[in-house]
Amino acid sequence: MKPSVKTITLLLLVVVLALFPLLGNKFHTYLFIECFIYSVLAVSYYMLLGHTGLMSFGHAALFGVGAYASAITLIRFSDLPVALTVLVGGLSGLLCGFLIGLIVLRLTKIYLAFGTLALSQMIWAIAWKWRAVTGGDDGLTGWSARQVTFPWLGQFGLINITFLYYFVLFFALACVALCWYFTRTPFGETLSSIRSNQNRADFLGINVGRARLMVFAFSGFMAGMSGALFILFKKAVAPTFLDMSTSFNILVMSVIGGYTNFLGPIVGSFVYVYMMEYLSSFTERWQLVMGIFFVLLILFYPKGIVRMVQQFAKKGSFIKEKRGVRIKC
């Protein structure tokens, strides 16, 4: 069937990303790695907030648990292939997401927000206090010299930026594609029905409780993976990964891009990383400027960049949307 405009642009994008480290300079490659990791995190948050309408304010907990779990496995099992530690991060995020989902199962709206925030602060307090396992205040390091061996490609060190770029790119594309696929399945549509009208979904015979648990677990898996990738990139993990400001940064990314649709968080994370980079070169108080920008955005334009582009596109109406193949972005 004739590939639509959208699939062509998608393929083009992937090719560009694949060739990027060869032509782009080191600085941007470095930034792109961070953008990929945050994109996975932001998309995992979209599954909760944007797609299912669950206002979870403690997403940093899932990210942090994944980071710590993979950090501990990296240290304890030095011969384990690095890819497996990323999966370990994902699985621990899944478990943590499931548990949080279970505890806050019947909370909605405001109460879900402060319930999840409280639980994430609890996990932060555990990480901060449990010095024996998590290294407490100073966190954990010690896997920067790690080598990754591939049967036919040879050995690469974690400090080799180009290798790390492809390693992270692979996982990021896989995660985003999986999330995208999930939104297209019956389960995905059920999640949107919960966002739109949880009460009616209940009366249609949909087991809303189980659906919420599944999406918390799935989102936890994704966030855990992005946590695991992040520590490979930063070569260290610390309690600040888990605290309120990290959850807030995830919110900032989602709102900048527009938390109501799939592309929003991805665009938001790229904008966030680049803003963070340039702002911090002017003042080390970039977090403050980001915060003010966020509040202004919420007050005056909460829909985000992607919606802005869409409206602009609709007015320009050059993107023809054929009946059948209508991708709800």
């Binding site: 019956p186 995905g188 549509e189 059920t190 949107s192 009366f203 949909i206």
Partner: protein, 253 residues
């Protein structure tokens, strides 16, 4: 089909439903009428599991459903519509129907395949939409439909579940007289051979649809019978025309 034995419901010390006994036979069209605040919607919410009864039991096909959650009761074969429009407003009409049909086939939590690949669900959705006359509005967001079309979708979603017992809560609420007639026609056509319980203020709708009527007043059933007995029933007249008082006396409140 549906039996209520001595069902009561208290909010604090306010007895909204007191010792209600009701029976709905298979294939029957039963109407529940009564003045505002008589407890009609509360009774509906008790049957569909939104509230738990404070006393008494509810049997559906002689299984006790008192303590079941709404989604469990719906899966047993009871579907309901709502007095206040309660549809998925920011999703298209087609998506509203597709969610319902997917739920009917118990596939809501499946993630093995893409939803567009499920041809059967697409056909069934389009079939029900055409019966409800909403096929031309397939791709419109449900919230932007006209009020009577939203009413049709509201009833359509309940019917799409193909339930054994259909509960309709004031399908004609807020509709103009001819729109009401259209909805009544639709309900009649779509509930052939099904058991129907309907709550309605509009008397023409009630007499047009119902085989049996129960009158609810202050949480108790005061009269039950065919439309003609109800029209002739004295207590019902009094409820509807207000208390015609002969003797006057000041009493302590």
């Amino acid at each position: 089909m549906l039996i209520l034995k001595g069902v009561s419901k208290y909010f604090g010390h306010l007895g909204v439903i007191q010792k209600v006994d009701l029976e709905v036979i298979k294939g029957e069209r039963h109407a529940l009428i009564g003045p505002n605040g008589a407890g009609k919607s509360t009774l509906f919410n008790l049957i569909t599991g939104y509230y738990r009864p404070s006393g008494g039991d509810i049997y559906f096909k002689n299984t006790r459903i008192n303590s079941l959650a709404p989604h469990e009761i719906t899966r047993l074969g009871i579907a309901r519509s709502f007095q206040i429009i309660n549809i998925f407003k920011d999703m298209t009409v087609y998506e509203n129907m597709r969610i319902t049909i997917t739920a009917k086939h118990r596939m809501s939590l499946k993630f093995g395949c893409r939803i567009v690949s499920l041809g059967q669900i697409r056909e069934e959705s389009e079939f029900v939409l055409s019966r409800v006359g909403l096929l031309p509005f397939m791709d419109e967001p449900a919230g932007t439909l006209g009020y009577s079309q939203q009413r049709a979708l509201e009833v359509g979603l309940a019917v799409a579940l193909d339930p054994e017992l259909l509960l309709l809560d004031e399908p004609g609420a807020g509709l103009s007289p001819d729109e009401t007639r259209a909805i009544v026609g639709l309900v009649k056509e779509v509930t052939v051979g099904k058991t129907l319980v309907i709550v309605e203020h509009d008397m023409d709708v009630v007499f047009d649809l119902a085989d049996r009527i129960s009158v609810l007043n202050y949480g108790t059933i005061v009269a039950s019978g065919t439309p003609d007995d109800i029209r002739r029933n004295e207590t019902v007249k009094e409820i509807y025309l207000g208390n015609v008082l002969e003797k006057k006396s000041t009493a302590r409140v």
